[in-house]
Symmetry: C2
């Protein structure tokens, strides 16, 4: 079975236990002959795939009644991977979503690590710091680097911990954020897991 | 008594109860004949004022032992205005500082309203929203605008409220943030109040 998670920059394939990426600008999806189960958030790629019979859009097989219309399908799939917990997908944006007993309970969007460092830098060159993931979370800072790090990391930390649920970390910056959430389950294939669950439950795909 | 708080764009004067601003690019401080008690965070303006005898730099009269070296002097003055509480100065950056029994207890820096709206917009045009200051804070959102607003506003709200202290709001966006913190004391002259306190306690300035 070939799975594919298509973002703004790449086709991310998973074939059994092997995953690899192809650049959206140069890869031609019609070259693939086998059946591909995919999700796609890239508006330019979507129309290309709709024409190809062996590319199966998994978004059409999800019960969306507990989600909302404009939510990214990658967020939905990460949520479909778990039964109870809080999913942090740390990429260019950080999406944080809560799932309770298999049902989506809402979520929020926070700027990604690099976007936020850029934001502070743009406000003032005096705020141009790399975040300190080892900052003490229990007390208010008294130095500039930690003041900025606290603003970004501690506020996220408190919100996530307030939900008192298992934390699942995925996305390109998952390993970085694992320093902040040492008890989190880091799973870079969470979206693929959700896709597999959708396939398993969609009887028409198994037949 | 003439007070002046100098930022990156303007000289902000207070004369008795009347305040007014002058553009840093065109105003000539040597035109002022009376004594001016000032603070200045603008590195280009500082050397101009050091040469003028009637411009008194109040930063030299603050006991800085409880602050830290790189903290902005405007933050220090806002803290010097209160005895116990949490000061939110909402400008291009949002500084949040805690004061307990007259002593600085630390603080953090968060991006300002407009900087953060720009950040979300830069990540994706799908996140280009004005924040919803009326969003429900008690539950996780299920729509895009509130997902972004929650990420910015709810996280700040929870952190501020966790300190269980009176909230003092100042800065250009104070009125906007008063919607989020309806019990806050909005005081656009908090920095000037702190400056007056410094003058009162610095005996050498009274003589």
């Amino acid at each position: 079975m070939l799975l594919c998670d298509i973002g703004n920059t790449s086709y991310h394939f998973l074939h059994v236990e092997h995953d690899y990426k192809k650049n959206v600008l140069i890869f031609d999806p019609s070259e693939v002959e086998e059946t591909v189960y995919y999700i796609c958030v890239n508006p330019e790629v979507k129309p290309l795939l709709e024409r190809l019979e062996n590319w199966i859009d998994l978004s059409l097989h999800v019960d969306m009644s507990n989600y909302y219309e404009t939510i990214g399908i990658d967020r939905v799939m990460a949520c479909e991977a778990i039964d109870y917990g809080i999913v942090i997908d740390a990429g260019s944006a950080i999406t944080v979503d809560v799932v309770k007993y298999g049902i989506y309970d809402g979520g929020f969007i926070y700027p990604g690590l690099h976007a936020m460092e850029q934001t502070y830098k743009n406000i003032s060159s005096a705020l141009d710091y790399s975040f300190n993931f080892e900052l003490p979370l229990g007390k208010m800072p008294k130095n500039s680097r930690d003041s900025v790090s606290y603003g970004y990391l501690k506020l996220l930390y408190s919100e996530v911990m307030s939900h008192k649920a298992d934390i699942y970390l995925t996305g390109g910056d998952a390993k970085e954020f694992a320093k902040l959430f040492p008890k989190a389950i880091v799973d870079e294939r969470l979206v693929f897991k959700g896709m597999k669950n959708i396939i398993k439950h969609a009887k028409e795909l198994i037949c």
